[in-house]
């Protein structure tokens, strides 16, 4: 158990999540990718706390912030999805390209 191993785990989770966020069409699936990336942050924060700076609570606070972020992210994401679906009957990001320049 070393910091590198934890960080490697975090990097792997982050990359998998990034792949999902990039490749998926469905909003819900994209959010899964985002959640995975946030999960990587949790792992990384906890690892940094444990290995690098256990005397200060900052690492734990980062984990808490990340957990809250996940909850907020999901709530807002589903609310937006619901609003879009209600208005347009779509659930994939390819169809919601209003911001095209």
């Amino acid at each position: 158990m070393t910091l590198q191993e934890y960080l490697l785990l975090a990097a792997a989770l982050f990359s998998v999540g990034l792949y999902g966020a990039l490749s998926q069409q469905s909003i819900v699936m994209i959010m899964m990718g985002l959640e995975l990336m946030a999960n990587a942050v949790i792992v990384g924060g906890a690892a940094f706390w444990y290995f690098a700076s256990p005397a200060r609570p900052d690492g734990q606070v980062v984990v808490l912030v990340a957990v809250t972020l996940m909850a907020v992210d999901m709530a807002i994401g589903f609310a937006v999805t619901t609003a879009i679906f209600r208005r347009r009957d779509i659930d994939v990001t390819d169809s919601a390209a209003d911001l095209k320049g």
Binding site: E5, A12, Q25, M32, I42, Y50, V67
Partner: protein, 187 residues
């Protein structure tokens, strides 16, 4: 030794189930694969002596994923994956970017001389966290609280399709709200 094995299992399980999220056809399975990934990750956190945060992640992720699965089934055309279909775009590019990011991160991880701490670890990390949140990190706590409150309001506003004018009439004069489901505490 045992912790090393447990960590290895948890880490491998976490990444494997994380990959599975985007490989399985059934949305329910994808969601619960994600949940499994979280739980494995929580296991690694528990190994770090962070009992509270680990259990908290377990608790929250279960609730989150259960809510998520509801929306998954609601918005996906093929929730059970009985007739497999692809819902991806730019797969190669995504793979390249994700792979590149992983490579870069891994390189950094092994190249950067990470600091190590000889400081003693607190006997009760949960207490340390609580005191930090109620003390020096009070601002974080307040911001989180505000964010959650704003999220609740925004979520309701975004998701609901019925406002008070629908319930109590244009002049808000109706005695009884016009709800699709009758009954309740005040009516």
């Amino acid at each position: 030794m045992w912790t090393q094995i447990v960590f290895g299992v948890c880490a491998a399980g976490s990444v494997a189930t994380g990959v599975a999220v985007f490989r399985v056809d059934s949305m329910a399975r994808a969601t619960f694969a994600l949940l499994a990934s979280f739980l494995f990750a929580a296991g690694t956190i528990l190994l770090l002596n962070l009992a509270y945060l680990g259990v908290l992640v377990v608790l929250m992720m279960i609730m989150e994923m259960v809510v998520m699965v509801v929306f998954m089934l609601m918005y996906m055309m093929n929730p059970a994956g009985l007739t497999p279909m692809t819902m991806v775009h730019n797969q190669k590019g995504s793979l390249a970017i994700a792979g590149g990011v992983f490579a870069a991160l891994a390189a950094c991880i092994f190249l950067v001389p990470w600091p190590t701490s000889g400081q003693p670890r607190p006997a009760d990390p949960t207490r340390a966290l609580g005191e930090a949140l109620m003390g020096s990190k009070m601002l974080v706590m307040m911001v989180l609280g505000l964010c959650l409150f704003a999220t609740m309001v925004a979520t309701v506003v975004l998701a609901t399709h019925r406002g008070r004018y629908d319930r109590y009439g244009d002049a808000l004069r109706a005695k009884r709200p016009d709800d699709p489901v009758r009954g309740g505490l005040d009516r």
